[in-house]
Symmetry: C3
Subunit: 205 residues, 3 copies
Amino acid sequence: MQNFNTLIQVVEALGILAFAFSGFIEARQKDMDLVGVFTVAFITAFGGGTLRDLLLDRRPLFWVEHQEYTLLIFILALVITPFMRHLRSAFSEKLLVTADAFGLGLFSVLGASLAVHAGMPPFVCVMMGVITGIFGGVLRDIICNEIPMVFRRGQLYATCSFLGCWVYLLLEWLSVTETLSLSTGILITVATRMAAVRFDLKLPG
Amino acid sequence: MQNFNTLIQVVEALGILAFAFSGFIEARQKDMDLVGVFTVAFITAFGGGTLRDLLLDRRPLFWVEHQEYTLLIFILALVITPFMRHLRSAFSEKLLVTADAFGLGLFSVLGASLAVHAGMPPFVCVMMGVITGIFGGVLRDIICNEIPMVFRRGQLYATCSFLGCWVYLLLEWLSVTETLSLSTGILITVATRMAAVRFDLKLPG
Amino acid sequence: MQNFNTLIQVVEALGILAFAFSGFIEARQKDMDLVGVFTVAFITAFGGGTLRDLLLDRRPLFWVEHQEYTLLIFILALVITPFMRHLRSAFSEKLLVTADAFGLGLFSVLGASLAVHAGMPPFVCVMMGVITGIFGGVLRDIICNEIPMVFRRGQLYATCSFLGCWVYLLLEWLSVTETLSLSTGILITVATRMAAVRFDLKLPG
């Protein structure tokens, strides 16, 4: 369990960084200044979890409890903004997509798990998981004045989170260990998302 | 009172469906996929009430307590999305406008009533009613990257909700029965909204 | 302390009016009707504080406790809307920018102060201050379908709030009186904002 928690924290940090990075990129494309770049990155990374905590009435909020992540994004925005163009080519697209898929999986399944432990009914737990996973990106796109990427017809994204959360719930219901149900849910999300990107899978319109 | 509660629930279900339907239509016009169609319909139907509950610090949220409505919208999105074009002509415009007017009236006046019972001052109760009635549509338009319809110069909409909530508050203050004050407030909202559509009533710009 | 509280209330009223006025102007440019003008002004004036209170789980909300401000904005919207064009030239640009700077300073530093007294860690207190100061304008721009002004490359705005909040926190940490730390934080914000407008100071992109 100790090892599992450490693993969760590493994946979490990777997911936050991947989400923040997608915020950096979109804010720069909109020609925002440093404040805009930081804010958009921050909201992309923590928007989904914050909305979930508001809906579940949970306090303290994640980024209040872990101000080190907020600081990290602030410092990254300071350091990265001037070198944005170069950095984007330094990180391969594949790395970013992979880290984002892990962030999506982890945030979604942990969100569903919090809702389960708050005694929510099953469909609501899945919705809370999906909200946690995707709403950071939705808010990023709203602030950048775009129709949210996840709602446009594109490669499966929210659907992967939806599947992963149901798998997690099913395993919880079968009373397997939390470690097994969490990691299976996360891996299902990651695997379907990677497959969607690899094979260009889309929902019907 | 028993009959009245059943009536309220029927009107509520109709209102939720009408609001969800307007979400389906707008999401399809923006060429969203299934996930987008469901999410926009869900937010249109429950966004106003959720915002009201966040502001009043009420839990559980309406859609958490009644997960059957969430499920219903999900199934409708699955079933309806492929047949959208045909469905729109199947339902007459008049039916949709009428159902939406009832939804607006019911959500607004029930919202104001919750604020009254939470001990809010009168103008705040009216604002909570209007927020409950219109903010689902506002969020729908923000996600679809439009200036919210209710704020553009058009036929009276928020104003009808505003009037209905004041009538409800006035009757409450006169200590008539809750059944009478609720139903009068709702009917005033519905009547003014239908009149606004019928006679093209607008506010000055 | 009595005089200081009165001063705070006067500055607060001025800041609310300045924020509401910027809402009036932007809503009118988008050709909204009376309901839109009122709602945008209301959200600009109270959006930042409401978001802060939701994040800190504070109730009653500011505009619920002081419904007189809500009423004031409503009456102003009624009275001002028809004369918008003339009013804008009546108030000089300089007056509006100055009142807005005071509103920014006051809302930011009071927001940071509420977070300090809620026991938040320092960086989070500053973020709460900045959110209180700028999110009204961010929500105004999102509703009006614009990329938020504070995130676009322009004269320093959020940065002034950020500086003022840090100065306030530093003085609190040095255990000076609350009156001194609040007023210094506010003045630093106002001074840097006025300097930014006067000398066209911008952040690097």
